[in-house]
């Protein structure tokens, strides 16, 4: 049984690795090709980064929706919320101020 679970867990790591590798390769390819318009490539990069971060949390850091892991999930989600407020807010505020002060 132990061996079976072990193999299953190994498979999860392999899946995670494969997904992460793909999600890395796509944006790199997009940028390397140089043919994709800038705003499109920006969205691709952002989306892939977000997905890959989720892949890492799911397959490497073992965060999921199961009951025992809820405390950590809540912690991570709360942190991400604050991160969004703080980092997003900083970018917004500074862009706004700079636009008003550099005619």
């Amino acid at each position: 049984m132990t061996l079976e679970t072990g193999r299953k867990e190994l498979r999860l790591y392999v899946i995670g690795f494969a997904l992460a590798a793909t999600l890395t390769a796509v944006p790199f390819a997009v940028v390397a090709s140089g043919t994709v318009p800038r705003d499109v490539s920006g969205w691709v990069i952002a989306l892939c980064a977000l997905l890959q971060a989720m892949v890492h949390f799911r397959y490497f850091l073992h965060i999921d929706f199961s009951r025992q892991k809820r405390e950590d999930l809540q912690l991570v989600l709360f942190s991400v919320l604050l991160l969004a407020i703080m980092a997003g807010g900083t970018i917004w505020v500074l862009a706004n101020l700079s636009a008003r002060m550099m005619p």
């Binding site: 072990g6 867990e9 790591y13 980064a49 971060a53 850091l61 991160l83 703080m86």
Partner: protein, 207 residues
Amino acid sequence: MTQDAPRHPGLNLGRHHPEAHAENEKLMFGFWVFLMSDLILFGIVFATYASLTNPMGQAGGPTPRDVFSLTSAAMQTAILLLSSFTFGLASLALKYRQPSLRAWLAVTLLLGLAFLGLELRDLVQMVADGAVPQRSGWLSAFWVLVPLHGLHVAAGCLWLAVMLVQVTLFGLTTQVSTRLARLSLFWHFLDVVWIGVFSVVYLGGLA
């Protein structure tokens, strides 16, 4: 705490150490909290970097296109991702008491050092090109953001080396196992941060 207490995610201690789970609940949770605090720190530096990545912040100095190499960034990314995977294998080896544990840890350490070597090479090249932090606000932010991650990786490598020694000296005691579990969190977390680095700094700068 009983043995039925929820096992901490990422804590692959296996059935050999039931009491270790209880003991480590708070250590692991505390480490998660620390990582989240660290995440905010990185977020702040990222936001600062983003707000300085514009012509005003670059002050007529070098731009991302002048100093970044997509190939080098891709190599670093690949190495770090691979090291994350090998650490995962080490975690499994730890959980199932396989003798390959030390080998996987050593491989991870080597990959980490290779990553640092590549990053260092890039930074040296940038200095040679005059892209020093004193040149512009944008470069200042770059020189804080990327080396900050590098410093974390270096700390992780040092920690790995210490753990290799401890595994050899003490064997897989509870303390050593749980330290390895926390180190694995740290290592995977650094890879998550690196996703941000290569997306925002390298791909964002070169797109």
